[in-house]
């Protein structure tokens, strides 16, 4: 009888405990690669699946919570409204790890208001945008994030300027803003692992090609285009708090370590010009510059760990509200008697 070694993560779970059902998306869809990264990152970080809440809106991307983390509760809500449902759930159970998955139609059009206000409140969640520039389920209409001059497989070239969700998030004061590419597994995994270690809103805008409607070379979000036009700000390595730091490869060039809320570290290794992720103006400049040259800038664009989360700002009691007892939820008979008396006075 032969023994087969199964890899276990820090809480002794196999990766199989983080997988989901089979995908019904088109073969080769960038979203499926992101689902795999979600599985990998959650497993590697050793988060208990039952502590995770998977949230989504409507669209191709929003279907994916069925394809990962099958042992986590999830909610595939309504179009563009994932942030508000997450907000309500977060308020009553602040101990859950909220992982939201949305698309560019879901976030940049119908749900742009909720996106903005979730950032404004600094909702404690990871918000992934699987951004392909088209509406897939309704057969390939442009979305609001598509670049001016980009052309999908069928139809005219897009002439409207794009809504850049990272720019918007930085301007709104989001504490963790990153951009990545579904084809850059290493970078995306490190960024997602860091996002999961962050407290507060962490946004990762992931360019994710639509293989069916916009994978032609004239599309700025096709595999070939992104591969040839991605500009990485830095290479990223995630160093979990439970791994001794000595075991990590030390890069030869310069690097900067970002200390995350749970004690983990995101190591940014400088590639060309030094990018300071603490400087929102530099982050915006990098995005603008890339946009001017029809490039995609990726990496950790902006980071600020100092902000209060939505639940912290409300001064909630320590126990998650769903776990409060009847005594804590319903004032006493004496309290009602006193109340009635105060109105009579």
């Amino acid at each position: 009888m032969s023994m087969r070694a199964i890899k276990l993560n820090v809480i002794d779970l196999p990766k199989a405990d983080y997988t989901g059902g089979p995908s019904s998306l088109c073969p080769g869809c960038g979203h499926d690669q992101i689902s795999n990264v979600i599985i990998q990152a959650a497993w590697e970080n050793g988060i208990s699946p039952e502590r995770i809440a998977k949230m989504s809106g409507i669209g191709c991307s929003s279907k994916t919570p069925a394809y990962f983390l099958g042992k986590s509760h999830g909610f595939n809500t309504v179009h563009g409204r994932m942030p508000s449902v997450t907000t309500g759930a977060n308020m009553v159970n602040k101990d859950l790890a909220f992982l939201g998955v949305s698309g560019d139609g879901d976030t940049a059009s119908i749900g742009i208001g909720q996106f903005i206000h979730a950032i404004r409140r600094n909702l404690n969640m990871v918000y992934i945008i699987e951004n392909n520039g088209v509406y897939g389920l309704t057969k390939g209409q442009y979305s609001a994030t598509v670049e001016k001059g980009s052309k999908k497989k069928k139809g005219a070239t897009n002439e409207n300027p794009p809504i850049d969700l990272c720019k918007m998030a930085i301007n709104l004061g989001c504490g963790f803003v990153a951009r990545s590419f579904s084809g850059s597994k290493k970078q995306l995994t490190a960024l997602l692992r860091a996002a999961l270690s962050h407290k507060g809103m962490a946004i990762i805008d992931v360019i994710s090609p639509c293989v069916t409607f916009a994978n032609n070379d004239e599309s700025y979000r096709s595999y070939n285009y992104v591969k040839g036009n991605e500009e990485e700000l830095h290479t990223v390595d995630y160093i979990p708090h439970f791994t001794p730091i000595e075991e990590v490869e030390v890069p030869e060039g310069q690097f900067e370590d970002i200390s995350l809320f749970d004690g983990s570290t995101l190591r940014l290794e400088t590639l060309g010009d030094d990018h300071d992720p603490g400087n929102p103006v530099a982050a915006l400049a990098a995005i603008h510059e890339a946009e001017e040259n029809d490039k995609h800038v990726t990496g950790l664009l902006y980071y600020d760990s100092e902000m209060k989360t939505a639940d912290e700002a409300l001064g909630l009691t320590d126990t998650p509200l769903v776990d409060l007892s009847e005594d804590e939820l319903r004032p006493s008979k004496a309290a009602l008697k006193e109340l009635n008396q105060s109105f009579r006075a």
């Binding site: 919570p65 069925a66 907000t87 309500g88 009553v92 509200l321 769903v322």
Partner: protein, 600 residues
């Protein structure tokens, strides 16, 4: 002149934002303090300052709370409505006017009493003269009606709680108004108040505040709201009472409050809170419900508990935002696309606002669905009497929630949407529990919650949902009925019509000898007792404050066909709280077969 005691209506015409609301509430509370059965209606504009406002105070030993069909005393303070207010007065009306508004009161057929209110106010405080002037009509009315000084003092102290200077200043103005009336007017006007034995337990409170307190005693965990008249004061009451009533031992909050970016987000947060196992609630008015409708369907289909209070204002569209109506009922009952049906709790008193405030959360969790509290501007924003709120008579009902592995193991073949008990209500597990996790969805799903487009699965799912809500009928608050022996005519009504029904009943009996039974529906889907009431009466009028007869429509759709020919709709709304005579006349005309339109 022989006095008419405790049976008159005072109408006070002022401009919004001039402090007249304080003066009016002092009058209302001082009469209430004396034990005079009294009610007040604030007809205010959608405006911060300047537009006309009328406050109607009705004293009635009969306990009538409708605005009254006639105005006996008209106070005119507002130059913008002055001429119309004066012109509208019936012959014999007592008109009290501020002489400093240099406008004529040419009514020789009325008793006209003038007082230089602004000038007198300026003499005691030039800066605040505009506001203090209102206290002079309080003094004048106190003098001519015989409101006791002690009652006035107590009402003033209550109104300006703790603000000593304001109390002193306002009391001085009232006293001067009283003095002026005594010295310059013939105060024998034919109307007066007489003290009655006051139940020391009673007090006046707005329906919105009562509902807010009910929610707090119902264990609300999350309030999300977007400001809209006339529901904002419900949310603001919750906010103001939470620190006193719901602070945890560590000093933290046990209810999160979020002012949402819009109604769509507000209801989304309610759905999220319910999904996670909490008690989420929002409050709004008709336009908000329109916006929330998509989420309402999701909560219905995915079976997520939550509470929405709708304080009805006049529609359609922006409508008359500060006026009252019962026109959202159909929308609430069937909100959202597709086949839906929602539980609606309909309070008719402030006591029920409190009770349904806490009960709505139990019902929502019991049936795993959204529950509406349905109030209106009249009930929500005017002050009504209560003898004190009663403590909930049952523990929190958290519904069928599986919290342990043992509970889960006890269920054979568990599925999130499997009807284990035959009542259409499945069991659920909560995020974070690790027990049978599923991905909730608004798309078609099977008994295990897995995506499905199977025709049989779909048909079975919506049939079960129908059965689930149908099963609520007799578990919801039963109708309040008063039945005559001779069961000829029955009146079905709901909500704030409660404040007018006794007077309508008395008018019908005194003018035609007709004795009617009454049945106040307190929930949808309606209780089986409602059907029995209809079955047992020869003619049944459905009386409501809207144009189309919305409850009438629901009854007509759901009742057995043999009852339909005896149903009559009497529905009317002009935005003003219902006046008994208008409705009584409409009832008589409808029953007599006279189909011509009734104009109030």
């Amino acid at each position: 002149m022989a006095d008419i005691v405790n049976d008159f209506t005072v109408n006070i015409a002022t401009a919004n934002g001039t402090g007249s609301q304080s003066a009016n509430l002092i009058l209302l509370h001082s009469m209430f303090e004396m034990g005079v059965p009294v009610s007040g209606k604030n007809l205010f504009p959608s405006n911060i300052s300047g537009l006309p406002t009328w406050f109607i105070i009705r004293a009635s030993d009969e306990g009538y709370q409708a605005p009254g069909d006639f105005t006996h005393i008209q106070v005119v303070m507002n130059k913008d409505t002055w001429l119309a207010d004066v012109e509208k007065a019936e012959p014999g009306t007592i008109i009290i006017h501020n002489m400093d508004v240099k406008l004529p009161v040419e009514r020789e057929d009325c008793i006209v009493l003038g007082m230089p209110m602004t000038k007198m106010a300026r003499a005691i405080n030039p800066k605040l003269a505009r506001m203090i002037a209102n206290m002079y009509y309080v003094g004048a009315l106190a003098e001519i009606l015989g409101i006791e000084d002690s009652a006035i003092a107590s009402a003033v102290i209550q109104q300006f709680r703790g603000k000593e200077k304001a109390i002193e200043l306002n009391l001085q103005a009232i006293s001067e108004g009283r003095g002026f009336a005594r010295e310059n007017w013939n105060c024998d006007i034919g109307y007066s108040v007489a003290a009655r034995d006051k139940d020391p337990n009673t007090f006046l409170i707005e329906g919105n505040e009562a509902a807010a307190l009910g929610c707090i005693f119902g264990g609300i965990n999350m309030l999300s709201w977007y400001p809209i008249t006339p529901s904002s004061s419900l949310a603001e009451s919750i906010i103001s009472w939470l620190p006193k009533l719901r602070e945890a031992e560590d000093g933290g909050a046990t209810c999160a409050v979020i002012q949402a970016e819009d109604e769509l987000a507000a209801v989304g947060m309610v759905v999220g809170a319910g999904w996670a196992g909490g008690r989420g609630m929002t409050c709004t008015s008709g336009p908000g419900i329109s916006l929330m409708s998509e989420f309402i369907g999701l909560a219905y289909f995915a079976e997520v508990p939550g509470v929405i209070w709708d304080v009805n204002r006049v529609g359609p569209s922006t409508g008359l935002p500060t006026r009252t109506q019962q026109s959202d009922l159909t929308m609430l009952y069937e909100a959202s696309h597709g086949d839906t049906q929602h539980i609606v709790l309909i309070p008719g008193t402030v006591d029920e606002c409190f009770e349904f405030g806490w009960r709505s959360f139990d019902v929502a969790e019991q049936f795993q669905t959204l529950v509406f509290g349905f109030s209106d501007l009249d009930l929500g924003m005017n002050r009504w009497v209560t003898a004190g709120f009663e403590y909930p008579d049952q523990n929190l009902d958290r519904g069928k929630v599986i919290r342990t592995q043992e509970q889960l193991d006890a269920i054979e073949n568990f599925g999130r949407y499997r009807d284990v008990d035959g009542d259409g209500i499945p069991y659920r597990t909560l995020p974070g529990s690790g027990l049978e996790p599923i991905l909730y969805r608004g798309t078609g799903h099977d008994e295990d919650g897995v995506y499905s487009e199977d025709p049989e699965v779909y048909a079975a799912t919506v049939a079960r949902l129908k059965r689930k809500i149908e099963g609520a009928r007799d578990k919801l608050p039963a109708p309040v009925m008063r039945e005559e022996n001779d069961k000829q005519v029955g009146i079905i009504y709901y909500g704030s019509v409660e404040n007018t029904i006794t007077e309508i009943d008395d008018i019908l009996e005194s003018t035609t000898g007709m004795k009617v039974s009454t049945c106040r529906v307190r929930a949808l889907p309606y209780h089986s007792e409602v059907e029995r009431f209809i079955a047992e009466h020869d003619q049944v009028v459905v009386l409501e404050i809207n144009r189309d007869g919305q409850l009438f429509g629901i009854l007509r759709k759901e009742l057995p066909v043999e009852h339909l020919s005896k149903l009559y709709s009497v529905a009317f709304s002009d935005g003003i709280p219902p006046r008994a005579r208008v409705y009584a006349e409409m009832i008589l005309q409808t029953l007599s077969g006279d189909t011509k339109e009734v104009i109030a």
